[in-house]
């Protein structure tokens, strides 16, 4: 840093030379309360007086300006400029189509959601099926609980041009009745409330199968862990957390302390309870003449709710290790009511094979 030339012109009485012959700068301090002045020689001595005339014509460089060699070095960068990344595949469809169609956020993988395939999560599949059954066109997008305003999936985002407010899953029936010509859903009858509680033992057995049976770990990984993280360490941690949450949910449903661990769960009883529940549902279905629960003309929310479980069970757990598949097939004395009903809903909502035709219907 160069100082202006005038700086170096001092009153002669303040110019001193120290014992090595260097010129020293003196400063005068007034010490309070003593009214005397003390002259202190600072250690900052300038060894050689600069020649003030040499640099007077150049503009004084700023304190923050970069030295030229560094500037040259920095000018080399960036070495390569890459092209911008394309947007993820799912966002392209969403940005182009979500101006006109609502989007349902569900547990799914990127590819499956793009094709509108059924979700692996019973609650998501319930609302997905109900929207299909009501012929409301919509898109699906993979998401996680963290993205949901209510803390759990699914939720529906109306077309971007209509409203920015997400609709929680409990308000979806209202949305359906508003956007189709169907009448608003009737309040549920006490008997259907009672039968709805049969989904509780079914849910406990489902949790036991998916989260706590080692044979289904690959399925769990594929649908819940791989979409969330690619790191194997994080995946393991996530899986442990999911299993712990599932076991505490099962224990709580059984009336045990939620930290008892898997040692407190009697899986035989869980499956026996689920079998009895499925039997009762099959008997209820036999009563109905229309092929849908409670003699309705077309499948209702109750049908969709049960399909949430049965759909996932028949798609992924109809194997020797997955005992629930066998239970659905044998329900109601082996008459195959539930399997027949499952195929009817699949045709009605998903158009045949149950894997195609997402938002087109």
């Amino acid at each position: 840093m160069q100082l202006p030339a005038a700086f170096w012109i001092h009153p002669p009485e303040l110019l001193h030379f120290d014992r090595w012959g260097r010129r020293c700068q003196h400063r005068t301090f007034r010490i309070p309360y003593t009214s005397s002045t003390a002259t202190v020689t600072m250690a900052s001595a300038t060894a050689t007086p600069p020649k003030p005339s040499a640099r007077t014509n150049q503009p004084a460089p700023s304190l923050w300006s970069i030295p030229a060699p560094l500037q040259k070095l920095f000018n080399q960068f960036p070495l390569v400029t890459l092209d911008p990344n394309p947007l993820p595949a799912r966002s392209q469809t969403l940005t182009s189509a979500s101006d006109t169609l609502p989007t349902l956020y569900i547990f799914s993988s990127d590819e499956d959601a793009l094709e509108g395939k059924p979700s692996i999560n019973p609650t998501c599949l319930k609302w997905q099926t109900l929207l299909h059954l009501s012929h409301v066109p919509f898109l699906t997008s993979p998401s996680s609980n963290h993205a949901s305003p209510t803390g759990s999936l699914p939720f529906l985002l109306p077309p971007r041009t209509v409203s920015p407010n997400p609709i929680p899953s409990t308000s979806i029936p209202l949305y359906i009745s508003r956007h189709t010509n169907s009448p608003s859903p009737l309040p549920t009858s006490p008997r259907s409330e009672a039968y709805l509680s049969l989904l509780t033992p079914l849910r406990l057995a489902f949790l036991q199968t998916l989260y706590l049976t080692p044979a289904f770990t690959p399925l769990l990984k594929k649908f819940y862990i791989d979409p969330s993280t690619r790191s194997s360490l994080l995946g393991t941690i996530l899986q442990t957390q999911l299993s712990a949450a599932a076991s505490s949910a099962v224990l709580q449903g059984l009336g045990l302390h939620s930290q008892t661990g898997t040692g407190g769960i009697d899986s035989e009883n869980l499956y026996a309870d689920a079998a009895e529940a499925l039997d009762s549902l099959a008997i209820l279905l036999q009563e109905s003449q229309t092929g849908w629960f409670f003699g309705e003309e077309k499948p209702s929310e109750f049908d969709a709710g049960l399909y949430g479980y049965v759909g996932v069970i028949m798609a992924h757990m109809d194997t020797p290790e997955g005992r629930l598949g066998g239970l659905v097939r044998r329900a109601g004395g082996g008459g195959g009511e539930l399997v027949g009903w499952w195929e009817r809903i699949r045709r009605e909502a998903w158009g045949g094979d149950g894997l195609s035709e997402g938002g087109e219907k």
Binding site: P190, R191, E193, A194, Y195, S197, L198, T200, P201, Q252, L254, G255, L256, H257, S258, Q259, T260, G261, T262, G263, G264, D266, N269, A272, D273, E276, A277, D279, S280, L281, I283, L284, Q286, E287
Partner: protein, 409 residues
């Protein structure tokens, strides 16, 4: 040998304090002769399934817990005198309806009872907690009721009525006040503040939430109030007896919202349950006392030691972090015992490995701590000069001569 049904002890003038236990007792009392079963007053820490009611069937060497499981076991492995007129059910519809309503009761009426008798601080302190103290043998009331309250509160959590638990609220307020004091805010002593001035401040949490609570109760009671229980199976009838008789408990309960709602609006249901109770347990308010109760002490010798073992586990569960691991390990161990007893082959036991690992870790930690303690402190003197003691030995040759003289003396 007779079946043994382990249940929670009697309270509120009912045979048990738990709905499932009442239902199980009622079912056994109606279907099986008294010679074929024993009722044992117990607590979950005494049974390997950690849940009451628990049925021990010595003939099949099994432990079964939970009302529906016990029902299933009795129907598939009936004791000699077992007779249930409604089994097998007359029509499939009755079977399905009975199953649906039983499940509905256990899924939806349990949270209501949890709110009424467990979450609500006033009711818990005035009636439920003393009832547990009465039915549990001595050291156990220190640990078990608190854990039970935790479990029951978790079952009612989804109803979002945790404000009935005023203990939590008071604790929170105290913490806030303490934080304010620490931060240097001026605090007004309680004696100088005004008393409650608005209606809202004098109302109890139950009174404030009365409409919401009544709504919750109505959601459940509307479903079970319309059912013709007499047409359903014995299992469903016993279930409604168990759950509803706890819902209408009002003796000694300070805030009786659930009993009031049920008794006022669902008289048919209450009448049916009271008739059913008389029919099952005999006339008189305490007819169930004539059932074959067996004292737990005569059943298991050395009960005192076992009680302290159970207390020890209860205390371990309360230790933060370790309690969770302990509970899981103990449950796993008990489950293995049950399966081995039944004759199911088990994989190798890894307990020894775990304990050896824990022991080695503890030893290593101990050794490390001991070594750390022996190291000199930071800043401690590492060299010391002492002034030599002036003795005759320090005086050269004369000194040596003198000291040898002193030694000889």
């Amino acid at each position: 040998m007779a079946l043994q049904l382990y249940v929670w002890g009697p309270a509120f003038g009912l045979p048990s304090i738990d709905a499932e236990c009442i239902a199980a007792i009622a079912y056994l009392a109606q279907t099986t002769s008294k010679a074929d079963y024993q009722l044992i007053q117990s607590s979950p820490s005494a049974v390997p399934t950690h849940h009451l009611p628990a049925l021990h069937d010595p003939s099949t060497r099994t432990w079964i817990s939970g009302y529906t499981s016990i029902l299933r076991h009795l129907q598939t492995h009936p004791p000699p005198s077992f007779h249930d007129a409604t089994f097998p059910p007359p029509t499939p519809t009755i079977q399905a309806d009975s199953k649906a309503y039983t499940t509905f009761l256990s899924a939806n009426a349990t949270p209501l009872i949890a709110l009424y008798l467990y979450v609500s601080s006033a009711n818990w302190a005035a009636s439920t907690r003393p009832a547990y103290s009465k039915i549990l043998p001595m050291p156990l009331p220190w640990t078990e009721p608190a854990q039970l309250r935790q479990t029951m509160s978790a079952r009612a959590e989804h109803l979002g009525m945790s404000s009935l638990d005023t203990d939590v609220e008071t604790e929170k307020e105290e913490q806030e006040a303490a934080a304010a004091r620490r931060a240097g805010w001026i605090s007004i002593p309680a004696s100088l503040t005004r008393g409650p001035s608005t209606v809202g401040e004098v109302m109890t949490p139950e009174e404030k939430r009365r409409i919401k609570l009544e709504g919750l109760a109505k959601d459940v009671l509307d479903v079970i109030g319309e059912v013709e229980w007499a047409k359903l199976t014995m299992g469903a009838r016993c279930a409604v007896l168990g759950w509803v008789s706890l819902m209408i408990v009002d003796e000694g309960v300070p805030r009786r919202w659930l009993a009031e709602v049920t008794r006022q609006k669902y008289t048919g249901l209450v009448e049916f349950v009271e008739d059913c109770g008389r029919e099952t347990f005999g006339p008189g308010p305490r007819g169930w006392e004539s059932l074959p109760w067996v004292d737990e002490g005569t059943e298991a010798h050395g009960l005192g030691l076992k009680l302290y073992q159970r207390l020890g586990h209860g205390v371990m569960y309360e230790v933060p972090w370790i309690g969770e691991v302990w509970r899981r390990w103990w449950a796993e161990k008990r489950r293995r015992l049950v399966l081995e007893y039944k004759g199911v082959k088990q994989g190798p036991n890894r307990d020894r490995l775990v304990f050896a690992g824990l022991g080695i870790t503890a030893l290593t930690m101990g050794a490390a701590i001991w070594y750390w303690q022996t190291l000199p402190r930071f800043g401690a003197l590492v060299q010391r000069w002492d002034q030599p003691v002036l003795a005759v030995g320090g005086l050269g040759a004369a000194g040596a001569f003198l000291s040898s003289m002193f030694d000889e003396l």
